[in-house]
Amino acid sequence: MSYEHEKLAEEKVFKDPVHRYIHVRDRVIWDVIGTREFQRLRRIRQLGTTYLVFHGAEHSRFQHSLGVYEIVRRIIDSGFGGRPEWNEDERLVALCAALLHDLGHGPFSHAFEKVFDLDHEKFTQAILLGDTEVNAVLSRVSPEFPQRVADVVGKTYKDKLVISLISSQIDADRMDYLQRDAYYTGVQYGHFDMERILRVMRPAEEQVVIKSSGMHAVEDYIMSRYQMYWQVYFHPVSRSAEVILIKILHRAKALYKDGYRFLQDPVPFRSFFDKTITIEDYISLDEGVLFTYFQLWMKEQDPILSDLCRRFINRKLFQYAEFDPAKEYRKIGQLDSLFKEAGIDPEYYLVTDSSSDLPYDFYRPGEENERVPIYLQLPNGELSELSRSSDIVDAISGKRRTDHKIYFPEDILEAGQEDNPLYKEILQLVRG
């Protein structure tokens, strides 16, 4: 039997709190899970700094990746199999792409990408195609197989139905992270009837569609997503931690560029500071390395770097205040000047941050919303865009919700306000 079709002598299962069991029969999948690049995902948290607010949120991208794989496996093996619109030759590439779609995430993914101007999707592709263990496994299927998986991840695969399983407005990625993040954070919002959605998913020419009788389950899923974004993902305290994390990395990079002599040479970061990153550098970095350096940097002579690290490690985060850009944008300039006058570097201690989410949208000609809609399959076989049938979804379609905050070190300002009238002035201004 070819490696592509080889099955394990006995099915392997992973016990999983969200899907109960994750089933593996394909030899390729089992081998991919055993690679060092996939195992690294155990050391990258799924929700970055959210654990500082919801203490249960310590789950990893390893767990999420297995979850996405399991959902795609169920869709294919229980729903799509045997239907004429589904090409069974795409099964393994879809499963591998589901399992490996987050392979290129770095430690504290979004903060890290922002500081070093990286793209996790491009690193996923580079790891799949580079001199790596995962590439060696995939290449055993066929020489072009790693490229096929990389194309699905990069959304350039010829069969768009396969892409839509992992990347669309109703995909396995979202269905796993909503439920998993809800489970680990302990909130009640992210739950929806996934079993029902899987039962009504149908393969169509270019994307997954939903049998119209499943519309209410999809409504529930969209509302769950909406709640999770505002209650968990955009939580202002976890954003505060992320703001500090970004500032730590910026400060370390700036010091390195200025020739500052660190007590401990930041070897794992050098190529990131110099923009000469290799795949090996990237794979070697995980959250454990970052935490080690944050601990070491707490003892650095540079007062900004050591203070920011202490704040992150000991959870002494910045305070936040609401900010309305339409009415208060001048406040930012005033605060910037006051911070400088007071001897507090606004580059590191005064941050505006905006969160914005569009719960669901569909393409309107002439607009740049870039979203492929969810289609319902009507009893006569025709497709209808979801918001045409659902009043609930119609009510939130295209409605972007945005939230703006200012982050600042309230503790420093409060402690010093008796001695320094500028501190008091800053506090009064920032609190409105």
Partner: protein
């Protein structure tokens, strides 16, 4: 603070006005690829490189009163036009002065249709590949737009022209 916002206002100010959200997205992406210092993070969406970050920033600039967004019903579609307000002009002066080559590059971009800029930006998204592979990727991603060989040639010529303009 707000330095990245100021860059977007400067860019639209140099263009005088930008017609269409898609056009604005693609213009900033192409400028970023030409090494102008825009920081908005782009991802490949179904319709080409797209930045949620830029969408949010433009929305904020409209809220702040620095950009004026007008919406015109064109019958089969709606078009958004962006112009810088007087307050926006003052605000843009708070940012660092842009490179001199920015203005002619913007002018060249603004003369093009959004369809053409969509093609150019998508080709640039795959600029780590060989030319034939770039074309192949664009044909897969944008199979419904049916770009002709002439359009592909024109897009590559435009990229070369932009690269020269950016370093001039």
């Amino acid at each position: 603070m707000l330095a990245e916002h100021a860059k977007i206002v400067q860019m639209i100010s140099l263009a005088d006005e930008v017609n269409g959200r898609k056009k604005l997205q693609k213009m900033v992406y192409i400028l970023k690829k030409m090494e102008f210092s825009f920081v908005e993070k782009y991802e490949l969406h179904m319709y080409g490189p797209y930045s949620e970050e830029l969408t949010l920033r433009v929305e904020e600039l409209c809220e702040m009163g620095f950009l004026d967004e007008t919406c015109t019903d064109k019958g089969s579609y709606v078009q958004y036009t962006y112009q810088v307000t007087e307050d926006g002009l003052k605000f843009s002066e708070t940012g660092d002065a842009p490179k001199q080559s920015l203005a002619p590059c913007i002018s060249k971009l603004n003369e093009q249709s959004s369809r053409f800029l969509e093609l150019v930006s998508t080709l640039l998204y795959f600029d780590h590949l060989e030319r034939t592979e770039q074309i192949e990727k664009v044909r897969i991603v944008k199979n419904k737009l049916n770009f002709s060989d002439e359009e592909m040639d024109a897009a590559f010529a435009f990229i070369a022209e932009m690269s020269a303009c950016a370093v001039a």
